[in-house]
């Protein structure tokens, strides 16, 4: 029986090739780290006559429900690594996606100790240089324009025009001297003092955040996550979780009546739909859409599809009585659609309008909404949106 342990962190890289590693090696490594599409794995116990019996291995992760951030916090590093590596669930709260804060810190310390420049420093330096380049260019343009105007006034042409720097020709005027080779000996001194022990002192302050949709998918479909009540630290039953995830989207008030157009349910319908079809579904807020669909995961390739959820009311009366701040189909303006389409075609993603039909509140009573069984009444339809450019699409 093989016990699957989450593998140690390796910085995820999709397009950057570093440390002389070839793309193929990296890919093979990723294939190993992210071998499992879901947190559940199978063990094989060989029995006689060539028959094999499979046992499901459940990682049994744990997390706290935090209504304020509308997320489930997975604080145990082993659990968060499992959830990330097997199915790309969640996001580090101080990282862009994978919870990599600790390893980034370790890398920075290591680089400091060995006198190397970290990638963050390189980025910062590049940004600083770009800023100076832009200033220089702007100044050169202003000077050139003034010169041209002056020449035009006198009635001459500019004989020796000022060079306007471009990205290729511009060179920093004065390379900061303190960034030179003198910086390295200082770092060597640090190393001499023997501060290697510091690496172990860094406390991991990061946790993995799961959206209510991700968390519910893990709980309801795989039973591999238990959610604890933040006050009592006791496990919440499924019923309670289902209600808690809905109420966090509702206005706090005395009369909390469940409605079929709750954003949690509508988003969950879409999330569950695409997860069931084998896609890795991640938040699309950085591309101003609701979800992004990855074939395998963000480590392997870019998302191919960008998903905009358009709720459709079966009963128009429900739409009128809705108090939830929710962008319904009617509110998507042409200019917004064209904006979203432009943003996503720039990054080579296909825009999908995902229509989630919300059943009439007459059909689905608040009592029925108290259990996930009501999901059977929802349906999903998709429409692909693409801009038509007559001149370019002839052939």
């Amino acid at each position: 029986m093989i016990e699957h342990q989450p593998l140690p962190y390796r910085p995820m890289s999709r397009h950057r090739r570093s440390e002389g590693k070839k793309g193929g090696t990296r890919r093979a490594e990723n294939n190993k780290i992210y071998a499992h599409p879901l947190p559940l794995t199978f063990s094989q116990t060989y029995v006689t006559l060539g028959l094999s019996r499979h046992t499901v291995l459940n990682p049994c992760c744990e997390g706290y429900w935090d209504p304020l951030t509308r997320s489930v916090w997975v604080t145990n590093p082993k659990d968060s690594a499992t959830l990330w590596q097997r199915g790309f669930f969640g996001k580090g709260n101080i990282s862009r996606s994978e919870p990599s804060w600790l390893s980034r810190q370790v890398n920075i310390r290591k680089a400091e100790l060995s006198g190397k420049v970290t990638s963050e420093e390189i980025t910062a330096k590049r940004r600083e240089q770009r800023k100076r380049f832009k200033m220089d260019r702007a100044n050169a343009i202003v000077t050139a324009a003034a010169e041209a105007e002056e020449a035009f006034r006198i009635g001459k042409t500019v004989t020796n025009p000022i060079m306007i720097p471009s990205g290729a020709t511009w060179k920093p005027a004065d390379e900061a001297p303190e960034k030179g080779p003198s910086a390295i000996p200082q770092n060597h001194n640090k190393q001499d003092e023997g501060r290697d022990g510091e690496l172990d002192d860094i406390v991991d302050v990061e946790h993995l955040q799961l959206t209510p949709q991700e968390a519910f998918f893990l709980i309801w479909c795989f039973d591999c996550l238990s959610v604890l009540n933040p006050q009592t630290a006791e496990g919440m039953p499924l019923q309670e979780i289902w209600l808690a995830f809905q109420t966090c989207y509702m206005d706090p008030g005395p009369s909390l009546q469940l409605r079929p157009d709750n954003p949690f349910i509508v988003n969950y319908v879409a999330y569950h739909h695409y997860r069931s079809l084998g896609w890795t579904v991640k938040s699309g807020v950085k591309f101003c859409v609701d979800y992004l669909l990855y074939k395998r995961g963000p480590v392997f390739d870019h998302a191919e599809f960008a998903l905009v959820i358009c709720p459709v009311y079966e009963d128009p009366a429900d739409s009128d009585s809705s108090t939830l701040c929710f962008r319904s189909t009617q509110n998507i303006s042409w200019s917004w659609l064209s904006t979203v389409n432009r943003v996503n075609s720039q990054v080579m993603k296909m825009l999908i309008l995902c229509y989630v039909t919300i059943p009439s509140s007459v059909l689905v009573s608040p009592e029925m909404l108290g259990s996930p069984k009501c999901l059977a009444y929802y349906s999903v339809r998709e429409v692909t949106v693409r801009r038509f450019i007559p001149a370019r699409m002839r052939d």
Binding site: K286, C325, S335, S338, V340, R342, V343, Q346
Partner: protein, 304 residues
């Protein structure tokens, strides 16, 4: 611009048009308002570039021009009254006279050309006539043999005398100003309110539209030129000078009140688009109580 003539904006279906090319030039160069050219050529129904008159103005542009006393609104359909019989007859006779003039000028030209032809060479002329006769005979023969016994030759189609009515050009007047039955004066409105009262204009009618007018006016007062910004995900593109000379620096979105919710996704979208198209995005918030527009620009920063 110095209080002389106010540009007439012809309103039809609650849209303001300019048909006169000189007026378009005045609006663009002196009033810093661009509008959009709309007209296509009659034979190019799919034309989508190099459009011509009329120029259609965005409602904000029209409101600005009227408010700044640079233009007046004219109820164009009402300004065209039905012509009286006398006026119509006069127009008809003028029209016939024009055609006659053209025909006589054409005939005179033909006669000149013909005499020139003859003077070139008598022999060449004879030769050409013979050649044409031969060709005509050959064609006639061919039709006879091809058609066979079934097809009876149409007697009317056979030798037809050449058409004698010479071609002439029909001149369609570009604007109605020359017509005697075009009377814009009683249908001219110098303020937006007057035009609204007359029922030909409705913009701005709500808070969003008032905010758009206010933002447009404020940016115009600062010396900018504005164009439509739908393509770049905003309400306006803001140019530092004439759009023919400059690229736009900003895309602007109008937010009608300081209390309006802005979705985080909107900030993301505009930040991304602005960076990709080298423009800064402006959120322009109209505070109706204070009568002030405030601007917030966003830029893609990227942290760590």
């Amino acid at each position: 611009m110095e209080g002389c003539r106010r540009v007439p904006l012809l309103v039809s279906n609650r849209k303001a048009y300019v048909w006169n090319v000189d007026d378009i030039a005045v609006i663009r160069t002196e009033c810093r308002v661009c509008g959009t050219l709309l007209g296509t050529l009659p034979h190019l129904s799919q034309q989508n570039a190099f459009l011509g008159v009329p120029l259609v103005l965005q409602p904000e542009e029209a409101v600005l021009l009227v408010d700044k006393e640079l233009a007046v609104l004219i109820d164009d359909p009402a300004a065209h009254s039905s012509p009286e019989l006398v006026a119509l007859e006069r127009w008809n006779s003028e029209w016939k006279e024009l055609i006659q003039k053209q025909i006589s000028a054409l005939e005179a030209k033909d006669a000149r050309d013909h005499s020139k032809d003859r003077s070139t060479s008598e022999k060449a002329q004879q030769k050409r006539e013979q050649r044409e006769a031969r060709r005509a005979a050959a064609i006639a023969n061919k039709i006879d043999t091809d058609a066979g016994p079934v097809a009876v030759k149409d007697p009317i189609q056979a030798p037809r005398p050449p058409q004698t009515v010479p071609a002439y050009t029909i001149v369609v007047p570009g604007t109605s100003t020359s017509f005697s039955w075009y009377t814009p004066a009683p249908h001219t409105y110098t303020t937006i309110q007057a035009a609204k009262d007359a029922g030909i204009w409705s913009y701005p009618s709500d808070l969003t539209e008032r905010a758009k007018c206010a933002v447009f006016r404020d940016l115009w007062d600062k010396g900018y030129y504005m164009g439509g910004g739908l393509k770049f995900g905003g309400d306006y593109l803001v140019y530092p000078g004439d759009p023919l000379r400059y690229h736009s620096h900003f895309t602007a979105t109008v937010i009608e009140s300081p209390n309006k919710t802005v979705m985080p996704m909107e900030v993301v979208a505009h930040g991304r688009l602005g960076t990709a198209t080298r423009k800064t995005h402006l959120f322009c918030t109209w505070d109706e109580k204070a009568g002030k527009v405030s601007y917030v620009s966003i830029e893609w920063a990227g942290f760590g």
